[in-house]
Symmetry: C2
Subunit: 403 residues, 2 copies
Amino acid sequence: MRVVQKYGGTSVGSFDRIKSVADRVKALVDKGDEVVVVVSAMSGMTNKLIGMAKEVSDEPSERELDVLVSTGEQQSIALLTIALHSIGVPAVSVTGRQAGVVTKGTNTRARIEDIDPSYMNEILGSGKVVVAAGFQGTNEKGEIQTLGRGGSDLSAIALASAVNADICQILTDVNGVYTADPRVVKNAKKMEEISYEELLELASVGTKVMQSRSVEFAKKFGVPFEVRSSLNNESGTLVIEEKPNMEAVVIRGVSIERNQARVTVTGIPDEPGWSGRILKALGESEVNIDMIVSNIAHDGKARHSFTMSSDDLGRAQAALKPILSNLTDGGVETEAGIAKLSCVGIGMRSHSGVAATMFEALGDAEINIGMISTSEIKISVTVEENHIEKAAQVVHDAFGLGE
Amino acid sequence: MRVVQKYGGTSVGSFDRIKSVADRVKALVDKGDEVVVVVSAMSGMTNKLIGMAKEVSDEPSERELDVLVSTGEQQSIALLTIALHSIGVPAVSVTGRQAGVVTKGTNTRARIEDIDPSYMNEILGSGKVVVAAGFQGTNEKGEIQTLGRGGSDLSAIALASAVNADICQILTDVNGVYTADPRVVKNAKKMEEISYEELLELASVGTKVMQSRSVEFAKKFGVPFEVRSSLNNESGTLVIEEKPNMEAVVIRGVSIERNQARVTVTGIPDEPGWSGRILKALGESEVNIDMIVSNIAHDGKARHSFTMSSDDLGRAQAALKPILSNLTDGGVETEAGIAKLSCVGIGMRSHSGVAATMFEALGDAEINIGMISTSEIKISVTVEENHIEKAAQVVHDAFGLGE
């Protein structure tokens, strides 16, 4: 089997951890697998390097930051390769460039344009492990570029696609993807599998397993991957293309997002253009809007409600001021201290009554629902933030996710 | 003017030093020069990185050591480029690979095979400073290789040749090349110029300004370079192709080498093959032999004498044992605590009486001469180590070098 394994900064954060990663890789090699290991910089290294740049200039150029920061992964690949040699595993390190990762776009947040896997295939073909630097590549001019947040996961998925790996394993500090945050919902269970789309919806509502861009990349190129722990040998959660039998599970998981706020603009004339003007003003002030709900009040005027992070509330109010001054009897209502609860599952498409089950469970628990929004495979509601844990638990139970 | 400047690890050893290098580069740019700056890793960094490798394995592979160690210069180029930007100097960093440095040979001590300066020329052509990583390049497979000791000097000379620089400046912690070690000979003077060949002879006798391979490379490709201080703005010593008027100076400088030992093998039959056998035995034991003197004693047997570092004396004696057992009345005499004094100058070729002047000066000072060896532009003698400083002074004076 051809396996790509990705280890994050914590997993290679000390010499001992590096040695134990080497042991894990050896176990795969011993059972005959061909292995590509993708590693991040040792934890703390990237921040340390950025700190060095800041010592020299308040505004270091992004091109040079990439030259500097990419040395972190380059050190990791050399050290892990040396550790592999020391336990008798033949291995060769490759930088992003040597892995054939061609990038495009802005430095510090480039995207992967193409991968030429010929050097990696040559190494694998000679029976050696490839140890590849995550997070980096070079553009067509040969300049070093980094991929931004979650870049090492993206590298792993992309390399897995390029070398036609059977599986890409994302080794991390959690055991997999859970039906809910286990710190909140006691009987949350690790999922055996989940579709790309479901994971994307969970990621978009705050389940921080992986950056959406990596999941999207995997979905686009059909790369199956497994999220599993770097600290034990338990199997994790397989993230794959949607399969027919997956719809049997109505709800895959429940996700919460705290620290939300609602802003409602009232007294909007029921005529075209106002929604666009409001959203544009918020966008220009870099307010990230999440849920949008709009309806007509009894006076014939429209009410637009938005949710956002509480941190954006002040910026939102300021951004809306000039708009309000153009409204005869407009107003802004704000509410902080709310949270969002979401149910995600592709089974929702073929099963009716999902919303009813969710709302009923919340009602039975005497939890009031604020805003509601739905997508094809997700239902989100807002509740008072101090009810969110109980809300998550009762909804989780209502769908039998802990069983 | 197109200038290549090379700064060593001490010159970029702290954020403040990096900023002051940036100021020096700006001064050149302000007067209209096109500049390529070659930098080493921050002082201590290379050893730190090697130490990291040693934490993981007692015998790290040389390929991976190069991947690891080359991050040191990569960090330096990014930091210096950022420092240049912060004072308004447009600049672009290039790794060894981006500088077009193609290497060949063994990792950790590769040689420069070729340089493709097109990217550097493009940067210079757009009015920007090139900040290049010394000490590194990539081989034809794209693998990172480092150049070994003195590698950054070599990079600077080679890049200067590739971009057709008018001058290559080696910025260091000395003001230039002196007629003698100023710590030993009080009135030693900084030379204005010296030929490649003279510097090579001085380097071979312990004047540690630059590694011989860099000087040889400069000589081979006709790259003029200047050794000067990174701490002040005084002009240094120009190292150039020999010119006719250079011969007017009989002796360019005086050099000393301490901690020498002499080994003499006696009782060697006056027949072919013995010299080769002795040298081979010493070579196989990694004894670096310097002077070799041979003559026939009154008994018709040959005596071979060698000088070497005192540190090699034990190894040399051990290596000679098996040979002595084949000699009827062979023996080994050893003498430690000697030092070597050399006079170097291309003027020697056209001036007679140089040896006489040297020996007379030593005789007048009642310093006994041990072994003598000569080359076309060098005369070396051994003296008792506790007389070496006085010997250097009187010979320096005899040739009027302090005037």
